[in-house]
């Protein structure tokens, strides 16, 4: 490590202004600060600083995503095995085998997502003369987890590029964006290539090209079944909670996501207010649907909404994105609650889309500044009122 440091110090001048590789300064600094926390000391203001930085915060989110990723890999193997049986799939159904199968299918998604996203980040950071912002470390992991496993890599690449450039960089980069970049990528895919983003086949590896599955197997997600009012053929609540159901790579297992949620809450990186209020909103709306139910979907137990589709994943990892959520604490309650309400509303009442979480979060991302505006205005009014009350003495 001393050796490494020495080598870095040796080549560093080449990357500074006027150096041979000054065009790659941001990239170099990105890698250098990745390996070594910079040796800068405080020059003004507080002399001591909290050891927390964005790298650490983002890293905590990555760790929190690991259970969902690991389970996702296993589940891809499992779904493939269920669809094609031992002969066609070549799997023996053992846990390591299933996991390995899934991992090999998910890794390319991760590589493409990070490769494209970080490439653009590096480029823009260099153009702007900034340090590389860590925001994409999380987005780059989120994107593979919210797409169907069979998505062609070139589509994923285009969607990632769209999300990073249009969703984030045009607004000024990490911290300035209105929409959650990962969901922007998903929305792009959803509206550009709907055939690859919905239906009964995309969730199972290989099913788009080879639909010869075992008799009786359906690749339909629980929500697709519910939307078709076939609630009777939905998997059991336990299955949905554990996550052995078709769905996007990382979204199926509520239990794995809950472990992630615990990590986010224990470290204080994720907002418990948002997580709780989204859940309450979804549950509340689900109960309301039960009350006025006219079809089997509306009669579906309200808590099914929480364990199906992307609800849990969106609640824990998407709605809590601090940049695109409301920035006031009071606003987070409203923002989260409306996400839950809208997600269930879109699911149940919109005939076109079986899933509503993505659109609900994106919609509330857009409204977050408005919510903040009213919360801040209330603060301003309190201050003005205080002044006039005192004058009245």
């Amino acid at each position: 490590m001393k050796f490494l440091r020495k080598q870095l110090d040796r080549i560093k001048p080449h990357f500074h202004k006027g150096g041979r590789f000054s065009a790659f300064q941001s990239v170099f600094e990105g890698f250098e600060t990745f390996m070594f926390v910079p040796d800068t000391v405080t020059s003004k203001g507080s002399h001591v600083r909290d050891p927390i930085d964005l790298k650490r915060s983002m890293f905590m989110v990555i760790i929190a995503l690991m259970p969902a990723l690991i389970f996702g890999c296993y589940n891809i193997g499992l779904q493939h095995f269920r669809a094609y049986g031992p002969v066609l799939s070549g799997l023996d159904g053992s846990l390591p085998g299933l996991f390995w199968f899934g991992l090999l299918r998910v890794l390319p998604l991760i590589v493409v997502s990070y490769g494209v996203g970080l490439g653009i980040e590096f480029f823009t950071a260099q153009k702007r003369g900034h340090e590389i912002n860590e925001g994409f470390l999380v987005s780059g992991m989120l994107i593979p987890l919210i797409v169907p496993v069979d998505i062609p890599l070139w589509m994923l690449a285009i969607a990632t590029a769209f999300a990073v450039i249009i969703g984030k960089e045009v607004f000024g980069g990490t911290g300035m964006n209105i929409l959650n970049p990962a969901l922007t990528a998903r929305a792009f895919l959803f509206f550009s290539y709907p055939a690859w983003m919905s239906g009964d086949k995309v969730w199972i590896k290989g099913m788009m090209t080879n639909p010869d599955v075992i008799d009786g197997f359906s690749g339909a997600t629980p929500l697709a079944l519910a939307a078709a009012n076939e609630t009777g053929s939905m998997p059991s609540a336990m299955e949905m909670f554990i996550g052995t159901i078709p769905g996007s790579v990382g979204e199926t297992s509520t239990v794995a996501i809950l472990i992630g949620a615990l990590i986010l809450l224990a470290t204080g990186i994720g907002s418990w207010k948002i997580m709780l209020s989204v859940t309450l909103g979804g549950l509340g709306m689900g109960l309301l649907m039960n009350l006025v139910a006219v079809n089997p979907y509306m009669e579906m137990p309200a808590y099914y909404h929480l364990i199906s589709g992307g609800f849990a994943f969106g609640t824990v990892f998407m709605a809590t994105d601090p940049v695109t959520a409301t920035q006031t604490e009071r606003g987070k309650w409203i923002y989260g609650f409306l996400i839950g309400v809208l997600a269930v509303l879109i699911r149940v009442l919109n005939p076109a889309y079986p899933e509503g979480m993505m659109l609900a979060i994106l919609l509330m991302n857009v409204f977050a500044p408005l919510i903040d505006h009213y919360i801040v205005q209330a603060n301003i009014r309190r201050r003005l009122k205080r002044a006039s009350v005192q004058k009245a003495y």
Partner: protein, 450 residues
């Protein structure tokens, strides 16, 4: 007894090296300095030049924007140097101590003087700058009348001196006289804010002529700005004055003895101090005689003031005008290998993202490393947790970034000072220089409003 004001928000940074309750009589410092940079917004106009003889209380310079505000030599002796920085900005006026001569401003009972006479006496003696004001956290403008005056009777900042111990070793008669003087300067109340955790033990309980408030909570509960916000908030067009606790005694001294003797008891603290203790010292004194032989070897930073708001000085530097402590901590100029993924059992953090939140220690050694590079605002809801005010910190900071005067005013810029945001700066994961930003906003407001 008035009710206790409780704060939940805030953070006590558990630093190693708190001062033991031993008072060491001051050793002669030899050199003293008055530093115009201690007074934000001040444009100093020099009245002396190197070689001039001065007495304690002789004016060294005045404020170009308010000529009646003078700044005095803390000791008698000779002006030896005027240190200038960039664009010839005056940084320090250095005096070498010779003899013990004081300018005599004459002892007087505050009751026998009019408010104007009291003001004139404070201004002439150079003691006026101990009175500061909100809005803007600057030296009080003499022409205005404050709606109230505040004195914080405790300091919650890291390793701060215990004011009960300090006052126990101070002349309470001088303090009382200082209070009497301040009482003549306002038609409102003089508020003394005490630590609710030590109500019975406080020697300041028996002070007359004040309204006593009790406050409980982590830092910044001791910050006068936070106290004002909750007790008598500053609205647009209003002014509140405040004085550091020990400076009240200095005011008393001016009226009992007629001299400018700006002495105080400070804490010498920090992990790099061998024997942290209390010292009797004069404002502006060189810190070298205080620290000599008491510092661990190594690359250290000397801070006049606390680690959150203090000023970096050299080992021959001078105690700031308002500072009540000297802190010595290690410098942090090193590269940490993959430091951002280390378990961090020895790292003190406000967040729970480090091992130290599972196995907390009693105290930590903190150095001056930034622990990261500057980024845009990303995480939200953190600043609010360490700012016990009804103010939206991030929104206020953003309004300053875009120079939105109206919004700054609406969001409470009149009530804040950099020190109130010091903890926000400490915990900021994006490493934004928040205190400098707040000062930029305050400076902008001063320019716009005048």
């Amino acid at each position: 007894m008035s009710e206790i004001i409780r704060f939940k928000k805030g953070l006590n940074i558990k630093l190693k090296g708190a001062a033991e309750k031993i008072l060491i009589p001051g050793t002669p410092a030899g050199r003293y300095a008055v530093k115009p940079i201690d007074f934000p917004g001040l444009v100093p106009k020099l009245l002396v030049k190197p070689g001039d003889e001065v007495k304690a209380g002789s004016s060294l310079f005045f404020d170009k924007n308010a000529a009646e505000i003078k700044f005095a030599s803390p000791v008698s002796g000779k002006v030896v140097d005027v240190v200038r920085g960039e664009r010839r900005r005056i940084l320090e006026v250095i005096i070498e101590e010779q003899g013990r001569e004081y300018v005599n401003f004459g002892a007087a009972k505050p009751d026998s003087l009019s408010a104007e006479e009291i003001k004139a006496r404070l201004l002439d003696s150079g003691l006026w700058p101990v009175i500061r004001q909100r809005p803007y956290h600057i030296v009080a403008i003499p022409g205005q009348e404050p709606k109230s005056i505040f004195i914080s009777g405790f300091d919650t900042s890291p390793l701060a001196p215990d004011y009960d111990f300090v006052m126990h070793n101070s002349d309470m008669k001088e303090f009382q006289l200082g209070i009497d003087v301040l009482g003549r300067l306002t038609n409102g109340k003089v508020n003394l804010v005490l630590d609710a955790t030590n109500i019975s033990g406080s020697v300041m309980r028996g002070v007359n002529g004040v309204v006593t408030h009790y406050v409980k909570g982590p830092h910044p509960a001791g910050n006068v700005g936070v106290q004002i916000h909750h007790i008598d908030p500053v609205n647009k067009g209003e002014v509140v004055w405040y004085v550091n606790l020990q400076d009240v005694s200095a005011i008393g001294r001016l009226f009992s003895e007629g001299v400018y003797r700006h002495d105080r008891i400070i804490a010498l603290a920090g992990s790099e101090v061998l024997k942290p203790s209390y010292h009797r010292i004069r404002s502006g004194a060189s810190i070298s005689s205080t620290i000599t032989g008491n510092i661990r070897p190594g690359d250290v930073r000397y801070i006049s003031g606390n680690v959150l708001t203090g000023t970096t000085v050299t080992d021959k530097g001078f105690l700031g005008f308002y500072d009540n402590m000297i802190t010595v901590i290690p410098e942090g100029k090193y590269h940490e290998f993959f430091g951002w993924i280390s378990p961090g059992f020895s790292k003190f953090s406000f967040t729970r993202a480090f091992g130290s939140s599972i196995l907390p220690r009693k105290e930590y050694v903190l150095d001056t490393n930034m622990h990261g590079g500057e980024r845009a605002f990303v995480l939200t809801g953190m600043y609010e947790k360490v700012l016990p005010m009804d103010i939206y910190p991030m929104q206020l900071l953003k309004s300053i970034l875009v120079n939105d005067i109206d919004m700054m005013e609406n969001l409470g810029i009149y009530e804040v000072a950099e020190e109130d945001f010091a903890l926000c700066e400490y915990i900021c994961p994006s490493k934004i220089e928040i205190q400098a930003l707040i000062r930029k906003g305050l400076d902008l407001m001063i320019r716009e409003m005048n």
